[in-house]
Every structure is written in C-alpha cells, then in structure tokens.
Symmetry: C4
Amino acid sequence: MHDITVNFFKEDDYSCDILIEGLPGVGQVGKLVAEHIIEELDAEKIAEIHSIFFPPQVLIDDLGITRLPNNEIYRYKGENLKIMFLVGDFQSSSPEGHYLLTDTYLNIAEKLGVKKIYTLGGYGVGHLIEDIRVLAAVNDEKLKEEVESAGAVFTNGEPGGGIIGTSGLLLGMGKNRDIDGICLMGETSGYLVDPKSSNCVLKVLSNLIGVEVDATKLKERADEMEHFVEKVKASEKASSEEELNYIG
Amino acid sequence: MHDITVNFFKEDDYSCDILIEGLPGVGQVGKLVAEHIIEELDAEKIAEIHSIFFPPQVLIDDLGITRLPNNEIYRYKGENLKIMFLVGDFQSSSPEGHYLLTDTYLNIAEKLGVKKIYTLGGYGVGHLIEDIRVLAAVNDEKLKEEVESAGAVFTNGEPGGGIIGTSGLLLGMGKNRDIDGICLMGETSGYLVDPKSSNCVLKVLSNLIGVEVDATKLKERADEMEHFVEKVKASEKASSEEELNYIG
Amino acid sequence: MHDITVNFFKEDDYSCDILIEGLPGVGQVGKLVAEHIIEELDAEKIAEIHSIFFPPQVLIDDLGITRLPNNEIYRYKGENLKIMFLVGDFQSSSPEGHYLLTDTYLNIAEKLGVKKIYTLGGYGVGHLIEDIRVLAAVNDEKLKEEVESAGAVFTNGEPGGGIIGTSGLLLGMGKNRDIDGICLMGETSGYLVDPKSSNCVLKVLSNLIGVEVDATKLKERADEMEHFVEKVKASEKASSEEELNYIG
Amino acid sequence: MHDITVNFFKEDDYSCDILIEGLPGVGQVGKLVAEHIIEELDAEKIAEIHSIFFPPQVLIDDLGITRLPNNEIYRYKGENLKIMFLVGDFQSSSPEGHYLLTDTYLNIAEKLGVKKIYTLGGYGVGHLIEDIRVLAAVNDEKLKEEVESAGAVFTNGEPGGGIIGTSGLLLGMGKNRDIDGICLMGETSGYLVDPKSSNCVLKVLSNLIGVEVDATKLKERADEMEHFVEKVKASEKASSEEELNYIG
C-alpha cells in the first residue's frame, strides 16, 4: 500500500492552464468557491487521491453508502482556459503529510501543464464582519498588480502567522517549480460556514481568470446564512431585554 | 522487525466466504458480538497479528502471564458457510497505522477468498436507551435491501461523522478490492459495555448470514448489566429523595 | 543516520546468561535497583545506544559537560553468572519507537546468549504505603513457582492496565524468541523516587538470581527519603494544627 | 520528495572554521545574536534547507510575498576566521525531525571543515532579571577554561532539564564526530524577546571567537525593550495605586 494513491479514471490528454484549489478550511470559504465553480461550469471529475494521511474513517452519504475520504481532481475545458480543480474532504492529519500531499498535487499539476495556481481560503477575524475584504498573497512580486486590479488587497503583515496547510504550501513549493501562485483569502468570522465571504472571493477570482461564473446559488446560500444570523441576533437581543425587564 | 507481522499457526486451506470484524469500540458492542459467535460456534484461532501500531505494552491474564497485544483471526467452517473473524485487544494508536493495518486485514481476507465483510460496532447516543435500533451503512447500494430485510435501518446522515477506525476502513478500502461491505452499529449510551445492544446486532447479523447463534449467554450478560443499571438508578433516586428530606 | 545506533566499545566475547532491565519509570524503582547492582558488582559498561526515538536534547553533568541521552549496556561476569544490564536516561518518546528499541535490545540479548530476562519497575498505588509488596508477571507459567518462592506475589489482575513500555515489551517480544521473562514491580506511591520499594525488589531479585548484593547504600537512601517524608508529614500536621488554633 | 533538502546556491569553496547557530528559542536570544552578527559582518547566504519536519505553511513578508519556512546557511570570510552561520524560521515540529535535521546540519558543517560549534540560546528563569549571566555548557572538558575566561559561567546543574533542540543536539551529536561544541545561554525572563540578554551573549561570543562586532543596533533594540518594560511597569503601578484610592 502506498502512502498516497492517485487514480485517474481514464487515460486522456488532460492538459490544464491553471489550478484552482479549494480544500476545507476556515469558514469553508475556499471549498465553497471551488465547488461552486465546478458545479456552474460542469467540470469533469478526472481523478481521486487517497492517502494514509487523511483521517482513518469512511464518510456516509444520505443513502447510507460509505466511501473513503479523498481529494478529487476536476477539470474544466473552456474555449480559452482549461482549469484543474483540487477539492476534497480533508487536509492531512499530520504535518509531514501536508508536505507530501502537496508534493503529489504539484506532480499532477506539472504533468497537466499548469502554469499558475490559485488557492482559496478564509481569513478568520474572530467577529462578524460587514465589509468583507479579500486578502491576497502571491509567490512572486510580478503577480501583485493583477491581483490588486482584480479587487484583492495586500495588507502589511496579514495573516501574521502565514498561510497554514495546502493553500500555503502550493504557493511555497510551487515557487520551487517555477509555477506562479496566488492565494485569495476572504475575511470571515471563523465561527460559521461563510458563503458571503466565498462570494467575495469568487468575484476577485472571476476577474483574475477572466471567466464569468453565475453566482446566484452562492448568493442564495449567503442570504440564507444572513437570515439565520439575523434571527440568532434578534433572539439574543430579545433574551437580554427580557433579562433587563426582570431586573427593572 | 516489520511494522505489522501476521503469523498463521499452520499451513492449511483456510478458505472463507465472509469476514466478521468485531474489534474494540464504543460500548464494546462489536467486540462482544464477534467474540460471542466465536465461542458459540467454537471457531478455531488460525492466526495472530502483532504490530508497532498497537500500544507499546503487554497485557496480563488472571494467572499473571503476559502477552503482547494483538489482533486475532478465527475461522469457523460450517456446512454452508465458512467465516473468518477479526477480533483483538486494540485498534491502531496512530491514524496512519489504521490504514496500514486495515490493508493487512484485507490482504488476508482476499487470500482466504472472502467475498463479503460484516463490520460490527456501537453508535453512541449519549443517554441510556430503551428501544435499540441497529443502524447500517454499506459500501454498495445493492446491499441495502437485504440489510433492511434483516432488521437494520438506514437513517439519513447517521452517524454524521462517518465511521471511524477499522469498521469504516474495511468497507471503504474493501470497495477498492470489489469486496462487499456491511457495517452494523447498535445504538448504545456510550458510557457502558453494552451486551443488550450487542444482542440486537447479533439478531440482525444472524438474519443476514443465515446462521443461528444461541444468544443465551449474551442475554444473561445483558440482564446482569440491566440489573446493575437499575440498582445504580435506584440508589441515585434514594439519595436525591434523602436530600429532599434534608431540605424539607 | 540510523534510527537506532548500537555502539559496542570493543569487540569481545560478552556472553551473558541473563538480562536485568531497569530503565526510568514509576518511582524510578527499577532504575534504582539496576543501577545499584551495577555499582555494587562493579559491572563494566560495554555499549551505548542512541536513537531518534529518545527526546531531542542533551543532558548536562555537574561540570557542565553535555552528552546525548542514551541507553547503556553493562556486563557483570561472576563465577556462576554473567549478567547483561540495560539502563539509561529515557524510554522512547513515541509508541512505535518503544517496539523498535525493544527489538534492538532483544537482538543484543540474543547475540550475547541471554536465556532469561528480569525487568524491574514500580507499581503506582496512589498513596504512601507501609508494607510494600513486590508484584510479579511472567511470560511463561513455568516461571511462577520460583518467583513466588523468591517472595513476589501474583495478584489476580494487577496491574489491570498491563505493563507499559520496555519492561512489558521485553517479556512479550522475548516470548516470541523463546526467552523467559520475569517482571518485578515494587509497590510505590507514584509521587516520589522510592528507594524503599527498590530495596524490596532487590531482595526478591537477589533470591531469584542467587547473587548476594550489599543493600546498605540503597537502605541509606531509603532512610533519607523516609526522614524527608516524615518531616513533610510533621510540617503538614503542624500547619493544620496552627490553622485550628486560629479558628479556635 | 526528500524529507530534508539542502540547496547550495552555487558550487564554491565554502570552507569554514567554526559554526555559529542561532535558531528560534527562548526569548529569541540566540536568533537575535546570530542574525545581528550576520548583518554586521555582512555574511553571505550560501544555502537554504527545506524539510517536511518544519511546520506545513508559508510565511508572508511585508509585501505579501510568500515563502516556505526554511533554515539558512550564511558564511563570513574574515582574514583570520571563516564562519558558517545556521539561522532560520523554525526548529523541527517532531522529536525525530530534530535528530534528522541536526544530522544534516553536521553533514554540512563537516563538509565545510568546521572544527568548532557555538550554539546560542536563552535560559528562561521565569521573572524579569537585572544582572544577566551567560550560562555555558560544553561537549568537552578542555573547553571550559576558555569559556570561563570569556565571561560565561558554569553553574552546577543548570539548566537542570538539559538543552532542548538543535542547540543541544549539535553539541551531543557533534561530539560523536569529534567537533568541539560550546553552548552559550543568556538568562532571560522567557516572556519577551530579549535583545538585552542577546547583547550579553554577544559579548562572550566575541571574546571567544576574537571577532569585534559592533553592538550598537542590538543595544538600541535592548533600550527600546527596556523602555517598553518600564512603561508597562509604570502603568501597572498607576493602576494599582488607583485601586488603592478607590478603596481608601
């Protein structure tokens, strides 16, 4: 048994121009964006990755059918752009596994001809947030201008602790292979799944790659979450007023 | 020294039709079932598995004799059905070890000709429970009907976190080897060893494999545990009434 | 660099009849016994073991000189008995390392011709204790009689959790190599280094191996520790009486 | 992918006489000293070390450019002394990695001809401290005299727990390669980055290696930190007096 197994469903010319990564993370921001684009563009699943570095369990779908946790490669072949997507259930459960898995992702990306990587994630700020900024980091200074033009911001020293996990390593280890890398991080509370933040990241990403993606479904999910948060806030306000009545 | 060592006691034709797994887990539900069947059917121990992925210790029996923790393979040869059993002291102490051990179990199962795997466990609900359901998950949709006919239920999204450990991985990794897999999980509080839940799992399993197993001993253990719980409840009630007397 | 390195200081015929192990553990009971015998019998250090499984640090002696943590092999050549000793600074810092290190110890023991292993440790009971029993476990039933004759006891199911670490694994893994194994565990509080418990273990061990070892130094250390404990008790009694005076 | 990758920027004769190590640690004392000397002597960066044993992330600079965490080798070629420096972002995230990384550092040092190693660190005392001592440990007794002459002290049994991490292992594992090793540890509270302690270590080190290093910048940082601490103390005193006023 290999530590990491990559299984392409068929042999084919799967050349790609760019890689978009959206694995699970803070607020599931990156995951929501990548999975939304895959659905809207009707991208094709071309490979699965299994590994002893994922948690030792199976997942169960609504029908009661089990499957191993995995990471998946999708591919979209547009007229002007061919995209490789990396999404999945988990990131590595060990520090060393993060490095070894990312090395495998980059082997695949290189094989498919990827020249540029976009990694997507959330940036937890610890409180609910109105005006969501999309923070950016790049692995080469030449990339800054296009990223800023697309609507993301570079802030001095944020995130202070760096970018943890695959989103970070793809840029760092991609640099050693001369692959350009851009990380987009939507601000988010960090407490909830955040489709609103995802929508902001999607806008910047669309600008960057020049592909229009219908955001309706993501906006609907964002509205639902907004209503949910409003209801929770209202109910909290009600209880605290009630408490005041007791006191008064 | 190998990370995992499998030691068959003798060379023989140990062909088996199915594998029943009952390693330690929530409420020891699966372990009790598998060990009960092994005892009732007088199955033969045919192999032992040692591994650096088990906790680094020895166990001591009532006579003061030590032995390494292990997993054990038993075999029952009935007229119509030959069963391989997987039981033991521990599951892996590391995430990676879970994958590597399960890979070894499947190597053995394939070698013996196993076509179907039944993994047994408990599903902790966090409170004492009267009407115990047996939840099921399968690694192929075609298996659902027989499982439901046998008395288990598929509930939408339970267990939500998936199935952790060997019981899960045998289904997930078995799928990749075209081995059918059924997991049966008896509801249990999660606080106590639960022979009553085991008895419910045993019934469903007996229906599925078409083998009658005398459940008397398991029922006796369940009754003992029931009495123990009743006594604890009564004593708790007594103390709380006493407290009320003090107050009153 | 190897994960484990064994360095014999010179080539020689280091044949040994038995192995006595006293690595660090509960109350340092085993360590004190083994190191005491080494000193009294003036055993010779014949090898050092280094490993990446020991904690990543150096130790500093009273002069300020550093050295890597290690395990050490000593040898005593008596007229009737040749003894291999295993002592050292640490046990493994990972579960897997425990297995791999013990495998190495057994390779050495086998090479030197060891036929019997005595592992020494403490059994933490959680409170100060007057009449110290020496509990025993063996890896073969035939060894029980001599162990009981020598003054140790087998108690039904103690220690309940088995024997953790090298003291346990040497018996379990030694069994697979047909090496007899006896573990002696002196009862101890578990809070303090316990030379008194070590002295009890020493007596039983001396009976077993038929070697007289002057226990004076160990008794002196036990007396010192006894006085220390008495002083702490007295001071605690004084403070609690004082408190009563304040209240009274 | 290798567990550890060493990348020299060009092939050259990089022979060195000594190695100065200042990786992150208590109070960043060693890191500040080594980086200060590198800057003052205008040492040249000659190699980078990447490893799966470093935390799985990238770091972001002030411009928003990412880079993998690494350890770096610098070199200074003076008239009488050629120095190899080891500095970097992190130490290993696993115990085993510490050993394997240090083995790699020593391979490089040996290749460059290093005969003596100076490792620099802080010694946390748990409280703010006025008169900072520089404690020392050496891997060979013959080194004590020069270290004491240079102003460091050997104290009986400090640090009691030994020297954790690369600073310790370079001495312990260097000894096995016949490389002399001296560890200098500046006393520090352990709560703050401590350039004042670094300055004390720098003085001792300068005496030892016979190289004058302008300490102005380090002193300025120490003064800033001193003012910061004074302000915090004053503000604490003010608040506690205010509290007294309330009470009074």
